[in-house]
Each structure stands twice: as structure tokens, then as C-alpha cells.
Symmetry: C3
Amino acid sequence: MTVDTAPARVFIRSDFVVFGICAAAVGLAAVTRYANVPSVLAFAVAGGAVAALASLVGRSVEQLGDRFGAGATGVLQGALGNLPELFIGFFSLKAGLVAVVQSAIIGSILSNILLVLGLSFLAGGLKHGTQRFNSERARTTMVLMVLATAALVLPSLASYVHTPAEPHEKSLSVFVAIILLVVFALSLPASLRRSAAAAANDVHMEPPRWPVWVAVGLLALASGSAALVSDWFVYALEPAIDAMGISQAFAGLVIVAIAGNAIENVIGIKLAYKNQSDYALSVIINSPLQIALVLAPALVLLSLFTATTLTLVFAPMLIMAVAVTVIAVAFIVFDGESTWLEGATLVALYTIIASVFWWG
Amino acid sequence: MTVDTAPARVFIRSDFVVFGICAAAVGLAAVTRYANVPSVLAFAVAGGAVAALASLVGRSVEQLGDRFGAGATGVLQGALGNLPELFIGFFSLKAGLVAVVQSAIIGSILSNILLVLGLSFLAGGLKHGTQRFNSERARTTMVLMVLATAALVLPSLASYVHTPAEPHEKSLSVFVAIILLVVFALSLPASLRRSAAAAANDVHMEPPRWPVWVAVGLLALASGSAALVSDWFVYALEPAIDAMGISQAFAGLVIVAIAGNAIENVIGIKLAYKNQSDYALSVIINSPLQIALVLAPALVLLSLFTATTLTLVFAPMLIMAVAVTVIAVAFIVFDGESTWLEGATLVALYTIIASVFWWG
Amino acid sequence: MTVDTAPARVFIRSDFVVFGICAAAVGLAAVTRYANVPSVLAFAVAGGAVAALASLVGRSVEQLGDRFGAGATGVLQGALGNLPELFIGFFSLKAGLVAVVQSAIIGSILSNILLVLGLSFLAGGLKHGTQRFNSERARTTMVLMVLATAALVLPSLASYVHTPAEPHEKSLSVFVAIILLVVFALSLPASLRRSAAAAANDVHMEPPRWPVWVAVGLLALASGSAALVSDWFVYALEPAIDAMGISQAFAGLVIVAIAGNAIENVIGIKLAYKNQSDYALSVIINSPLQIALVLAPALVLLSLFTATTLTLVFAPMLIMAVAVTVIAVAFIVFDGESTWLEGATLVALYTIIASVFWWG
């Protein structure tokens, strides 16, 4: 309404909405943490607060990245975007909930490339008919996802067939974790360049509004709060699981995985609905790639500092589910087009996998 | 020889040939059913009669579908084309031959995408050299086949690795069966539209000759006879297996699977030989898709009404064979071209799989 | 320096270099074979001599093939190129080292499509950026590789899940071996035509320099020496394994596999570095195809004449490694482009697989 030049405004209305929601959610989570409320309620509120803080982390990263050149955003998001999931994983490990962490890692991959991809195909296909995504970028990301998945499943396979390496599963997991992190580090320059190119093409690009110190400060505050609230989330997790009568595996695979990825997920579906199917696909399959290349190995290395050891030897059904899924989705990405029926089938596949873990 | 206008003729010569063969085959099968003949002979005659009736069902569906708009043919064929196989499966379940039914389901998939696809590549390649099939339709059908196979194998995988879901394999199978049927139902509108478009392009399309009541009557008659003869086929199956000294698994995987799909199979190979490789591929990979989406789940649900329970937990070698095969064939379809050597290799792969089941 | 016309010169300088290296290497290997030297040294020298002789075999085949029409080179190379590996395999079987032979077969496949392909992507990508290889030939070769791998793994899968075919694993392996050799024989005419076409396009093509009797004589001499030196290599293998404290599986998978393929490997990497990425890919994935279609089945059949039986039932981890790898690489080939990051990831995957076998 005023004639102020836009860049002079540090905060716009949507910033205040996010701040407000975060403050309210964290406050509410603090109350449910220490008050005597049902564990399922405390768990749900903490989950909501984690999702809200994940959104604030994302916003701060965006503002900060833009300061240092547009390309830095992608890299920062790669490193910090999974921060809330990392906190949840770390506190779950400290609480000894290895089954939750392992199924949450696989569940995050599955919820992205089955549920979210399926919903985005459904939303895009019902609105726009058959959608095409012939970009090389999607195929290249998918090839890396196939390779990362191959690396991720090898320690489990080695353990199942009782190779002589079986007693060394911890060393093997650490070795694979380091290799995955090295591959991620090597991929950063290309991501940087690609993000910069994408930013240059993006007409919707706004100049950064927040001064560096505001962005850094909010990032630190949001991250710190996310750490705190993740702790509460995990604290409520075990009693909530008991109260709901579900298995640790199902809780990790479905509930923790969806809560931890809620924000990114919505973005992907929105983009498909707006018929930006190429961009939607990139966002959606980039997320599980980061889980395989960063989150999983980081948690393995962090677990060396907790009493609980996290190895990359997953329950066999988790490995089978991720193997079947990654192969099927790779064919879909290579097909270069999507229909709402494929979307519905992906969601159906997710439902079947979830139902396998339902019986705890 | 006469100058009658063609549409005035309700039946043409090839109709009478089919009627004659069906009547003779059913009569012969009735004789071998109740006379004291060797079981292998009775089995072979009943198998021939089932194939003849399948051809008559197909012809009636075609005439009927054309009345209600060309597109309906595809849908009706999807629903009724596997009717003889469904009868054989149902009676085999009633006879307690679960191993036969399970291996016949997988065998029908394998015989289509290995033996028939291989023979069509061989026939087409030897006659026309390298054949190309770059249609999106083939790739989209193959993607659905990959997804349906993924859903189909999950209950088996869950059982092999002894997840807590193992004792619930019956509930899980029913759940997966319902989901597969829902995906099939969702796919009908698109098939309808696609068939209508295909029909519009098809210059060979003839106007329907049979009045509706004739088509419906013959369809009912052929279906009823198919049910009856399927019963005889299954009646002779067990003694014939014993007489030939083969295993139930081999009988289902190879003999029942090929008998049940004989007619469709010949069509696919013929089309490839005529260099209509795109159409041939569509016909050939559409058939196993319907087996996965309709026949297998329908038999699981029908088994609830028999004393024998059919679950989707197949023998491990069946699952491995279908997994290896579907992945290999998906790459062939995505390659977009075929050679006679690929055809020969597919047939070789079929021979190897069959030989694994030979040793009973 | 002289003005002699080039074709008049039977041997050029690089011929003499190869002759000299071969003579020196064989002589040295003879000394270390019979003198009292550490086994690891004898093993390394014999390995070097095998590689040198492999290079001489290749050179003789090239000269010989050119005499009988350019296309014959490819076929001769297919049949004779793996001769040194065949000798090593045969003598290892005679020495009862089945685990070495089996892991060397799989290791030869893996070292080609992970290590060598990865290094060629790395070399090509770092020098030339993203490389494209959209040729149908690479995809067709990869499809055959997928099909051959499917055939190769089926006897193992049948054994793992204890099908009734398990006690017949020897018969089944011989059957699969014969089928693979038949597929190879059927592929020869197409390879012949393809090589001839490639030769016609190849401007670097030189006229053959060696008279037929020289080429045949040198081929016979090199092959005979390779047989002799392979025997020494295997003789030193077991004590060297003990001295190095590694497992038979690791020795076969990594050391024997790399030694046996050393020459071809260097060629593929060089071609990628020269930005002939299509040609590089063809050379690199053609080599494991020949291992699956010729070397492995030939060794199975040859083992019928030794006291040790070689079946196609491999250790489960070998099968899992090759299955994961072939699927991942098939997607890379179908992607149609490569980056140095994909190369690095392939090398990383090779390292992980090797490390699994490190713990013996």
C-alpha cells in the first residue's frame, strides 16, 4: 500500500506469518513437553513444530545463499535442508531407537519417490494430462540416486549372505558412509553451477531482503530451536508409539519420515500442479539423493559418539522395498512422461509397503 | 460368388470354421472326459478345446464391442479375454492345486514377455532386420508392468524375510489384490480412449456383422462351455502330470501357461512378422499386465470362496524369475529397437527358467 | 628417416618394443618361477608377463584379421582376446582354486563396468566435460549384457532358494553354458558386419604389415607362451595369497581380474580421454559381455576335463554385486551421457564391493 521501494522492506508479511507460526508451535511444544498431556498429542505438536522450523531454516538459507551468489543456495540447502531430520535421527540414536532411525532413513527415501512423486503425478496429471520431463538433469540425478542406493544396500547384502565381512559390518558401514560423503562433496561444484544457471533463468527470482546478520541469526535461532524441539519430538516418540500400538519400524518408515520431509514434499506437489513438471521432478528426486548421500552417512558417523551404533545393515524388508522402488522409479524417470495413473500406482505401492510394516 | 452386400451376411466363412472347430473340440473333450482314455490324451484334447473357445470368446467380444463404440472392445477384452485362464485357475484351486495356479500365473507372464516376445523379435527380425518401436504407449505399458510387478512381489518378499507381517500373508495378499484391481479399474478410461483412437486409425476395421443378441448369446455360450471344458482340463491335469512324470510347478509354469494364452500369443508373433512391431509389442506386453492387474488378484479373491487359500506368496524361484525377467525386458522396451538375436536370447532365457523347474 | 614405402616394412618400431617386452617378461617370469624368490614377486612378474603376451596376442589378431577382411578382426578378438584369462582360469581349476576362478569371472565383469568405465568417465569428463554416447550400438550391447547376466545368475538363484533343481546344479550349469555359447555363436555374424562397417569408417585404419605366416606364427607363439606363463602365474598364486594374507575371493575378484584385463582396460580409458566416448563405451562393455557369453561357459565346459568341477553357482555376494552393478550401469548407458562425477561414483562402488571381499 505504501510507495516504499521493495528492497527497503526487510521483512514481508509471509515472513511474519512464518515467525508467528514457529513461535506458537515451539511454545505449544514446550507446554506439551512439560505438562502432563497424552503422549500422542505431545508427539503431534512437536512434529508440527519441527516442520515449522524446517520451513524457517529453508527461508533463512534462501536469503543467506542469495547474498553469496545465487548458486550457493543449492549447496547450503543440500547441507542444511536435512538438518531437522538429522537432529531427530541423532536424538533417536541417543534414545536407543535404532529401528526407528533405520526405517526413517529408508522411509524418507520411499515417501519422496513413491508418495510425493505419486501425488505430484496425480495432481499434475489430473490438471494437465500427460506431463513430460525430458530434461537431462532429472535423468542424471536419477542415475546418481541408483548409484547411491547401490552403495547404500551393499553392506546389508553382505551381512544377509553371511560373507566373511559380516562381523566387520561396523567398519564397512563407516567406510561406505565416508565414500558417500566424499561423493556428495564432489557433487557440490556441479550443483553450485547448476543452481546458479537455474537462478539466472528464473524470472521469479527476488533480491535478498534480509541483511546477512539477520539471516545468519535467524538460521542459528531456527537451527537451535529445531535441535531443542527434535529432542522433545523423540522424547514423546516412544510413549506415543506405545499409545498408538504401532511398531517402531512403522513409526519410523511412515510417521517420522513424513514429518521430517513435510515442507519439501508440499513444494514438489505444488510445482507439478503448476505444470512445472521438470522442476517438480528435480526437487522430488533430489531430496532422497541427499538422504542417501548425506543424512544416512552422517548419522552413521554421528552414532560413533553415542552409545547406540548405527550401521548401514538395515532390516531386509527395508532393503527390498528401497531396491524395488528405486528400480521402478528409475524406469519412470527414464520414460520421460507421467500420467495420473502412474501417480496413483506409485501411491498404491507406497500403501502396500507401509501395510507390510503395519503388522509389527 | 453372389452379389449380396457384405454387411447383410451375419456369418462369414471364418465364423463357421471357428464354430465347427469349437463344436468338434468340445465334443471330443466330452468323449475323452468320460471315456476311458489315457489322461495325457484327455488333457491335451481339453487344452485344445479351451484354446478354441478362447478364440470364440475373443470373436464375440470383438463383435459386441463394436456395437457399443469401437473403444469398448479393448475394455471388454481386458475383462473377458482372460476368462478361460480364470476358469482354469478357479477349478485348479477347487482341486487344491495351489502350486499349479501360482506357477501358471507367473508362467503366463513369463511366456508372454520371454517366449512370445522372443519369438516375435525372431520372426520380425529375421524377416525385416532391426525393428524399431519408439511409441510412448509401449514404454507407458511397460512402466505400469514394472509397477504392477513390484506390487505383486512385495507380499512374497515380506514372507521370505520373516517380517512380522508374515503370519498375516493372507490379509496382505487380499489387500494387494484389491489395490491391483483398483489400479486396473482406474486404467480403464485411458484404455477406452486409447482403443477408440487406435480403432479410428485402423483402416482394416470392419463394421460389426453379428446382431447384438447373437454376439451376447455366443459370448454366453462360449463362456459357459469354456467353464465346463476348463473343469475337464483340470480334472485331467493331475493324472496327466503323474503320467508324464513332471512337477506341478513345471506343468503350471509351462504347459498351463502356454495353453491358456495360445491364441493371444499367435497374434503377437503374426503382427511382428508383418512388421507392425509397435502394435505387436503393445499386444504382447498388455497381456502380462492384465495377468498381474486382473487375473492374479481375481484368483486371490475367488479363493476366499474355495477350500484352498491362494495368497500372493509365491515360491521364491518364481519371484526371482519374474523379477529378473521384467527388469531385462523393461530395458529392451526402453531400448526402442529389437533384433532377432535379442529374440533368440529371450527364448534362451525362457528355456533356462523352464529347465530350472524341470527338475521337480 | 628413410624413404622406403611404409607397407614394405614388416615390423615397425612399436612391434619390436612389444617383442622385447614380451621376451624380457617371459624370461624374467621363467627365472622367478624356478629360482627361489618370494612368491609375491614371482606372482607379480608372471602377471606382468601375461599382460605383455595378451598385448602380443591382440596385435597378431589385428594383423591376421585384416588379411581376411577387416570384419574378421572383431570375431577373432572375441574368440582369442580372452585367451590368457582362459588359460589362467583353466590352470586355476586344475589347481583346485574354484573360489579364485569364480570370483575372477565376476571380478572381470565388475572391473570392466565399474572400475574401467568409471576411470574412462573420469578421464573423459575431467578433460571434455559431459560426454554423450547416444549410439544404438552401446544400448544394444548393454541389452545383451543384461540378458546374459540374467542367464548367468539363474543357476545361482535356483540353488540359493533350494529349488528341487539344486542337486542338479552341474547339469543346469552345463545347459546354461551351452546356451550362452550358442547365443555368442549367433551374435558372430552381426559382430562381423558391424566390425566391417566400423573398419570402413575408420580413417586411422592401416594396411596389414605382417605376412600371414608371420601373424599366424606369432599368434601361436604368443598363445603358447601365454599358456606356459599362465601356469606359472597360477603356481605362484596360492603362496602369494598366503603371503599377502588376503582371501581367495579377493585375489580372484580384484588381482586376477585386473591382471587378466589390463591391456583392454587401458585402451578404453585412452579412447574416452580422446573424447571418442561412443567407441570407448563399446569397447568397455563388449569385454564383460564376452566374459559372460564365452569365458564363463567355456570354463564350465573345460572343468568337465579337470578334477575340479566349476558350476555357475557363485557365492551369493558375487551374484548380488554383479546384479546391482549391471542394473546401475544399464541405467547409465541408457542415460546416454556421462559426467566425471558418475565416473567417480562408479569407482567408489567398485571400491565398496572390493572392500566387502577384503575381509576374508
